[in-house]
């Protein structure tokens, strides 16, 4: 569903990614691991479109999206839960969820809201609360929920377990697992590689902006 061909990207004159080739299928969970500064987040950002690639192409559902602005890619069915959550602190939980629903039909939004609330029941108890006052785990759930509102078929998640207690991380991965079972393709980048790898179908290792290995996960899930 998502194909990346010889992608290069960087910031200003500083190149970060070199010739990335990658493909992700529906319902597949791909874990991207690697040391700090390897270019994992940059890869996700160029897939969603906030970083413009300098070369190569990104194909989603058969159409080239390499130079499309992010909001069109979201409309096509991609979504990113960014590193550090980046929730809108002054907006309420409900407004955070709806912020990403600009061009999604109302019935889909209603449906997705239900889905998000069943996935993360705690959010449904906090709809009117200011998002900045949520706990770290709740903020992460909100960030994933916010990405889900447009009913994506490809979900990119950057560092979901950052700064969270193991119990909450387990809960998050369980949710991701459910999403994958529903047929959503998931790309997850995580420093805590063990959780990511055990949840993944395939594991991609990135070092210094290049893919150094791409293998089926040995961990498997339960």
């Amino acid at each position: 569903m998502l194909e990346i061909e010889s992608l290069r990207a960087g910031y200003g004159r500083l190149p970060v990614l070199f010739d990335i080739d990658l493909a992700v299928d529906e319902g597949e969970v791909l874990a991207i691991v690697g040391p700090n500064g390897a270019g994992k987040s940059t890869l996700l950002k160029s897939i969603i479109g906030v970083v413009t690639p300098t070369a190569g192409r990104i194909v989603f559902d058969g159409s080239r999206v390499t130079h499309e602005p992010p909001h069109l890619r979201v409309e096509r069915g991609m979504a990113l839960s960014p590193e550090g959550r980046r929730i809108f602190a002054s907006l309420s939980v409900r407004e955070n969820l709806l912020a990403g629903a600009a061009r999604t039909p109302i019935n889909v939004v209603e449906q997705q809201l239900q889905r998000i609330y069943t996935l993360f029941p705690i959010l449904s108890e906090r709809t009117a609360q200011e998002a900045g006052s949520l706990s770290g785990g709740e903020q992460q759930m909100l960030a994933i929920g916010r990405a889900l509102i447009s009913a994506p078929r490809m979900l990119l998640i950057d560092e979901p377990s950052m700064g969270l207690a193991p119990l909450i991380v387990a809960e998050l991965y369980q949710a991701l697992h459910k999403l994958a079972e529903d047929g959503i393709g998931i790309v997850v980048v995580d420093e805590r590689s063990t959780e990511a790898i055990s949840a993944a179908d395939r594991v991609c290792v990135i070092e210094k902006g290049r893919i150094v290995s791409l293998t089926a996960s040995t961990g498997g899930d339960a």
Binding site: V50, A79, R86, F88, S90, L91, N96, L98, A102, A147
Partner: protein, 313 residues
């Protein structure tokens, strides 16, 4: 020593002045929230719109240089289409500016983008000075010259209209910002631009729209302020500074606080000029206003400090 008549009159004038500052302050806050810049450019936009409005409506016999070959050949259009055209000009100029400024400046420091806005103001001011060099004109009010007595104070229709427009504006904006999809998107962008892009908000389109709105407000502000004073580059800038001062009290982010600030400055100005505290020279009035502004900034910065506990640059 407080003459109740003077106090009342000053109170009412102050509300009208505050409303005028408020209209521009709203535009400043909106632009700041979209682009993190103190939109000095609104001063230039207001001036351009005011000049256009004056050119379309003023009686040539009342322009400066009348009777000489330096007279300005102003039209004598009806007021309503002139106001609309002036606001449209404001929209156009703001859109032009935002088209250059937004996007590429997303990661520039606030001081740099603000300097850019200063440049925009100078250019727009320069254009009016090229066409009508040194003009310092009397501008007819779109609401005529009628006056009424309210609560013992003699108030012009123009002042009442300014207050009415601000009230209307506040109600509409409050509804848009808190209740609509666009309002949520606006607030999301002002919280975190990149995250807004990531979740699929068409950031450029929304901020362009907000810039157009604030441009219309700047244009309207220009049209409304000149009948209360005179039309000239320094006059418009002078009013802009008051609006800025109001917006500062809201930290450039909060609309209600900015309006409160604008009202406060309207009151201070009206009372010091109107004679509530005896005769105060215009120089001292300026010093007093500066002192209020300074205290305001001090308060805002304190409040921010305690919120974030970190120094911003």
């Amino acid at each position: 020593m407080f003459d109740p008549f003077i106090v009342k009159a000053s109170l009412v004038t102050g509300v009208a002045l505050g409303a005028l500052y408020g209209i521009l302050a709203v535009g400043l806050v909106l632009s700041f929230r979209m682009s993190r810049m103190v939109a000095f450019v609104h001063g230039g936009i207001a001036l351009c719109s005011a000049f256009l409005y004056w050119y379309l409506t003023a009686d040539p016999a009342r322009t400066s240089g009348h009777g000489t070959n330096l007279a300005y050949a102003t039209k004598e259009w009806p007021k309503a289409p002139a106001v609309i055209l002036a606001m449209l000009l404001g929209v156009g100029l703001a859109a032009l500016f935002a088209w250059v400024a937004t996007g590429r400046m997303a990661n520039w420091p606030r001081v740099t983008v603000t300097t850019f806005a200063l440049g925009g103001m100078l250019i727009f001011t320069g254009i009016t000075q090229e066409i009508w060099p040194g003009a310092f004109e009397i501008v007819p009010s779109p609401f005529g010259r009628g006056r009424v007595t309210i609560w013992g104070a003699n108030v012009s229709h123009h002042q009442i209209a300014v207050i009415g427009i601000l009230v209307f504006l506040v109600i509409v904006l409050h509804f848009v910002v808190t209740r609509t999809k666009t309002g949520v998107q606006m607030r999301a962008i002002s919280d975190d631009v990149e995250a807004a892009e990531i979740v699929g908000i068409p950031v450029r389109k929304v901020s362009m729209g907000v810039w157009c709105l604030s441009g219309a407000l700047a244009g309207l502000g220009g049209v409304l302020l000149t009948p209360m004073t005179r039309l000239g580059a320094s006059v418009v800038l002078f009013v802009l500074i008051r609006s800025l001062a109001g917006a500062v009290l809201g930290g450039f982010r909060s609309l209600p606080l900015a309006l409160l600030g604008a009202m406060l400055f309207g009151q201070v100005e009206a009372h010091t000029a109107g004679g509530t505290f005896g005769k105060i020279s215009s120089g001292w009035r300026e010093v007093i206003l500066m002192a209020v502004l300074f205290l305001g900034v001090l308060l805002v910065v304190r409040r921010k400090r305690s919120q974030f506990r970190l120094a911003e640059t």
